[in-house]
Symmetry: D2
Subunit: 354 residues, 4 copies
C-alpha cells in the first residue's frame, strides 16, 4: 500500500457556500482545505471564519462527528482577499491509500503546534514551535523535497492583548498579523536550513532572512499554528507533481513561468496554452508590497494608501501577473509575505497533473 494525494479545486458562490466541497466523495480522506475567500484579508475579515464554520458544520454531518472534531482533524487555511480578478475557491487536499506503485509524486504532511499565549505571537516561541511542526510533517509524509509550506497562524486582537499575561510583541492589531506570519515563516526557514538562527529582534525587521517555500496566513479564528507541507516523495503514488520558484518582485513573470515549467507545463510564448492551463491544479503564491516603495525603480502607492490596505494592492498585482501567466483566475494568492521570499517578492508553487 502506498499513499496518494489528491487536490481538488472547487468554486464557491459566497464564503458560506460549501456545496462544492459537499459534493466531493470520501470526506474522511481530507487532510487540509485551503480557501481563497472574498473578504479584505485583514483584521476584520470574517469571511474566513464563516467559511470554516460552514465547512465544519457540513463535514461534521457528512462524517457523523462534531464540528469541533472536524476542525481538530483537518487543517483549514482560509486566506482572505480576491482583489483584481481573483476567483473565490476552495482547494481540497486529500490523502488516501492505493495499490498503485509509487511514482515520485506529490506528498502532503500536516502538523499543528500547541496553542500560543498572546505574548508568544510574533516571537521565538512561535518560530520554534513552527519549526518543530514542519519537521514532524515532513517525517510523517516521507517528503524528499519541500516545495511549499502553508502555515495558518493567529493574530492579536484588542481583546487578546488585554488578556495577555506579559507584554505582547505589538499592540497594533494589524501589525500583529505581519509579526505572526513572519515568525511562522522563520520557523519554516529554520526547519529547512534556509536560515541558521533567528532571534526575537530579527522578526519583522531583518528582511534578508526568509524562506523560499513558506506561505503564512494570519486569521482571527485560531490560537495555534497549522502547518501543511507540500513536496514530492519517492514513496507516494499518483500523477501530481509540485515545483516552486521565488518571485524577486511583484511583477516577476519569469519566476512564475519557471515554477510552471518545473511542474511540467509548457509556458509557450507567455500564457499557458489551454491544454496546459487545464493541467494546472493549483498555483499558490505570496504577495507583498516592497518596503522600498518602488518596483524596478518606479514608485508604487501601496504603502501610502489609507483607503485600500497595502496587502490588498499586492494581491491584486500578483494575481494579475499570475493570471497573465496561466490564463486562469482561480489562483491562491495570499498577502503578507514577511520573511517569505525577498522584500517585495515571494514564493510561488505550482501543482500540476502530468
Amino acid at each position: 500500500m502506498t499513499r496518494i494525494a489528491s487536490v481538488q479545486r472547487v468554486a464557491m458562490r459566497h464564503p458560506g457556500d460549501v456545496s462544492g466541497v459537499a459534493a466531493l466523495p470520501d470526506p474522511r480522506s481530507i487532510v487540509a482545505i485551503l480557501g481563497k475567500t472574498e473578504g479584505n484579508g485583514c483584521v476584520n475579515d470574517f469571511t474566513r471564519a464563516f467559511a470554516v464554520q460552514a465547512l465544519c458544520v457540513m463535514l461534521a454531518a457528512r462524517m457523523g462527528t462534531t464540528a469541533d472534531d472536524v476542525a481538530a482533524r483537518i487543517a483549514m487555511v482560509m486566506s482572505g482577499g480576491t482583489e483584481g480578478g481573483l476567483s473565490p475557491h476552495f482547494i481540497v487536499v486529500s490523502v488516501s491509500d492505493t495499490d498503485a506503485p509509487p511514482t515520485g509524486a506529490l506528498a502532503i504532511g500536516t502538523a499543528f503546534t500547541r496553542d500560543f499565549a498572546p505574548e508568544e505571537i510574533g516571537r521565538m516561541a512561535q518560530v520554534e514551535a513552527t519549526a518543530f511542526a514542519v519537521r514532524e510533517a515532513m517525517a510523517q509524509a516521507m517528503i524528499d523535497e519541500v516545495h511549499y509550506v502553508q502555515v495558518k497562524c493567529p493574530l492579536l486582537t484588542s481583546e487578546r492583548i488585554a488578556a495577555a499575561g506579559a507584554p505582547v510583541a505589538t499592540t497594533d492589531t494589524y501589525a500583529s498579523m505581519g509579526l505572526s506570519r513572519g515568525a511562522s515563516a522563520l520557523g519554516v526557514a529554520l526547519a529547512l536550513g534556509e536560515v541558521a538562527a533567528v532571534a526575537d529582534s530579527a522578526i519583522g525587521v531583518d528582511t534578508s532572512l526568509y524562506s523560499s517555500v513558506a506561505s503564512c496566513s494570519a486569521g482571527v479564528e485560531l490560537t495555534r499554528n497549522e502547518v501543511v507541507v507540500f513536496g514530492n516523495s519517492a514513496a507516494w503514488a499518483g500523477d501530481l507533481r509540485i515545483a516552486h520558484a521565488v518571485m524577486q518582485d511583484g511583477i516577476d513573470l519569469p519566476a512564475i513561468q519557471a515554477a510552471l515549467r518545473g511542474a511540467g507545463l509548457d509556458t509557450g510564448s507567455g500564457q499557458l496554452p489551454p491544454p496546459d492551463a487545464a493541467r494546472l491544479v493549483a498555483l499558490l503564491a505570496k504577495a507583498e508590497p516592497s518596503s522600498t516603495g518602488r518596483i524596478r525603480g518606479n514608485r508604487h502607492i501601496m504603502n501610502d494608501d489609507s483607503d485600500i490596505n497595502a496587502t490588498r494592492h499586492a494581491r491584486a498585482l500578483v494575481g494579475g501577473v499570475a493570471a497573465a501567466a496561466t490564463g486562469r483566475t482561480d489562483l491562491f494568492i495570499s498577502g503578507g509575505a514577511e520573511h517569505q521570499g525577498p522584500d517585495g517578492g515571494g514564493p510561488v508553487a505550482v501543482i500540476a497533473r502530468r
Copy 2:
C-alpha cells in the same frame, strides 16, 4: 518642414508634483499631457483636478501666460487610480517641426468639442460632437491609421444635475461617468466607421457596439470633451511608432503581446527583455469588470464589492497583466471601458521607439 511627435514619460511624487514636467525643454510644443494620478478614479477623486491645477500654474509661469490659457491650449487627461503596482506618472506629448524627412511615424492630432449642457452628457449630442472632433483631429494631423483616441469627458455632479435645463441621462453621479465615457467612445466608433449608427437607447446598454481604439476618462473638472488622436502618418518624422490590439478579457496577455510586437518590440518568452522594455515609451489600456461577473468561467467579485469600487479592481488586474508583459509599472491603465472594446476587455495601445 515636417512634423515630429515626442512622448516623454515623467514620474510624479504626488499629484501636485509637476517638477518632472517643469524640467522638460520647450513647453510651447506640448499638445497634451496624460496623467495617471493616485486617487480613486471615481467621483470624489480630486487628484486629477489637483494635478491639472498644478500643471496649469507651472506652465503658465514658464510660458508667460495665464493658467486658463494653458488649459485652453493643452489637452489635460488625468486618469485617477494606480491600484496594484501601477506607478503615478505624466505622459507629455509634444509636436514640433523638423528638417528631418518623413518616416511614417507617430502622429498626434487634438481637438475639443464645445461645452455640453448637463442634459447632453451621456446622449447623442455628446456622441456626435465627439465624432466631429475625432475627424477634425485626424485631418489636421494627416493620420493614416488611428491606433488610440484619448477622450477626456465631463460627468454629472449633484450640483450640475440641479442646474440642468432638462432631464439628465441619470441622476446617479457615479453612473454618469460611465454614460459620458460610453457616449464619447461611441463618438470615436462613429467617426472611424466601427459602428454604423448609434441611438440614445444604446448608450450604456448595447455592449456589442464599441470602438477598438477609444479610451475615455471622465473628470469633474471639465464641461467639454477633449480629444487626442494617436496614429501613424506617412507625413510625420521621428522614430516613434504606435500599434494597438483589443483585449478580449482582463487577462488577455496575448493581446498585449500582439500590440507590443506591432510596435516593433520583441516579446520573447513572456516578458519584454530589458532592452525592449527600455524602448517602450507608453502602454495605454482600458480596464473594466465583465458584466457577466465571470472571467473565462470563473467568478470575480468586482461588481459585488461595496468596499472597493469595481473599476479599481479592474485597473489593478489589467495593470498586473500589463506589468507581466512589459516588466514595467509606469503604464497608463484607465478604468471604465464602456463601449471601449468588448465587455470585460478593452483596447491596448503601445508607443515604442524603433
Copy 3:
C-alpha cells in the same frame, strides 16, 4: 394567564460570537433576534449570514432541533454596519406567559405573508400582503398602539428573475432590495393609515409617502415577508414600554429625545443621566443620506464618496447623534430607509424599563 415580552441586549465579540445568546435562559420563548453586525451593511457583507448561521447552529443544539427549524421559527434580522462608535450586539426578543397582571406593557406580534412570485416583489401585491400581515400581527398581540414594525423581505436574484411568470419590477438585483424594502414599508404605512393609497408607480419614487414606524431589511434567503410588530398593549404584563418619533433629518436630536421621553426616560439637559441610560433597553433607528446632498442647507459628501458607501456615512452620523442623546453606543441604527420616514430622516423607536 397574560403574555409578557422580554428584550435582552447581548454584546458580541465578533459576528460568529453567539455565546451571549447561548447564556440566556429558555431559548424556546425567543420570537425574534435582531443583530447589529460589524460588516459594511452592503452587498458583500457576509457578517449577517455568518451570525445567522452561528445562531441557528447553536440554538438547534440547545433546542434539540435542526438549524432549518430554528430559522423557520425565529425571525432573524441582521443589520450590517457599526460605523463611528456603534457597538455590535444582538437584541433577543422573547414572549412568554405569566401570572402577573396586565400592565399596559410592550407587546410583540409576528406574522408572515404568503410566498411572493418574483414579479410581485417591489409592487402592490407585496404592499397589500404586508399590510394584511401587519394587521394580523396587531390583532394576534392585541396591540393598541404600534411603535415599530420590523419587516424582513425577499429580493430578486438572477435565478428568480429567470423564473418569473411576468416582467419583474427591476432586473437589477441590488435595486430590487430597495424596491422590496420600499414596498414593505408602504405596506406598513397602508395598514396603519399613514397613507391613504399606494400605486406601483409610487414605489421607490414618491418620497412623500412613508411610514413613521417601519424598518425593513431585504434578505436573499426568504420568499415571503416576515413581520414583527412592536407596540404597547393593555393586555400584556411587564415593565417595558415602547415609544417612537420621526427624525426629520440626520441630526434631529430633539426627535430622539421625544422618543426617549415617550418611553418614560428623563432627557435632562441633553444626554440621559446614567440611571435613565441604564433603563434604556433598545433604541432602533433608520438612517439614510438626504438625496438633496444637504443637511439644513450645508453640503454633505455621502452621495459623492466612492471610498465609503453613503449608507455607512449615514449610519455613522445617526449613530453619533443617538449616542449623544443616550450616552450609549449599543444602538440598532440601520441603513436603507426607502419610504421609512422622510427623505434624509427616519423613524426612531425606544424600548425602556419603567
Copy 4:
C-alpha cells in the same frame, strides 16, 4: 488703536473651490485659514494640498504677490475628513486694527517653527520648537487665557524616510502622523504648563500627558510646524468670545455643551435653539478612537476595521455628537488626538458672537 479678530465660515463645493474665500473683503488681514476638506484625512489625502494650492494662487493674485509669499504669511491648516454628515468648509481668521475700545474679546496669535529634519519628527526637537512657537504667539497677541492652539505639522513619507540623515522615529508613514501630532501637542502642553516635562520615550506612549487645548493636524505638504493660538485678551476689541472644554470620550455631549455655554450660548434642552446656532461662529474639536477598544464599556470596532481607518470612524462619531449639540454640520472635527485630551476624548473649543 486696538486689534480685532474676525472669523468667517465659508462653504466649499470641492477642495479646489476657493470662490467663497475670494469673495471676502480685505485679504491682507487674513492670518490663518482652517479648512475641513473631504479627503480621507490620512496619508494619501491630497485634498489638503489641493486646497492650499488653490488658496495660495487665488490670494496671490488678489494681493499682488506670489503664492509662496502667501504660504509664508498665512497659516493654512487643512484637516481632511468630512465623514458622516460633516460639511466641507473654510474658517478664515483675520486680524485688523480698529478704533473701537478693547472689550476682552477673541485674540489670535500665530508663529511658525523652523523646518524639521525627517529624524526630528515625533521627537523632542519638535516638542521644544513647538513650545517656543506657542509662547511667541501668546506674547505677540497679549493673550490672557488660551482656549485653543491649532498646530499643523509634517509627516514622514517613504521618500522622506529614505532621505533622513539619521534613524527616524517610525518607518510607518501612517504612524508618523500620530507621532508628529503627539509631539506637537506635548509642545503646547509644555508651553502652557499642562505638563512639567516630556521625553522622547513618552511621545505616543504615555497617554496621561496631554494638552487640553491643543489640536494638531498632520499634512504631507509642509516640513515645519505652524501654530495658531486662540484665546481671549483684555486688549482686543470685538464681539467674539472663545471657550473650551475637554471631552472625556467620543460621546461626551455634556462637555460640548459646557464649551457652548462658556462662549455664551444657551444649550436649552439639548440642541442649540436656532438663534444660538446662528451665533455659533466655529466649533473645533479633536476626535480619536479609544485605545481600549471600548466606549463606556461597550466595544467599538474602529481599531479593528481594515476598510475604514480608525480616525475616519472617530471623526464621524464626534461629528454626529457635535451636530446633535449644535444643529449644524459645518464643524471643524479633526482626527488623531494623540496627547490632545484624554485617551478616546479630546478638546472642544467654541467661538461665538455675543
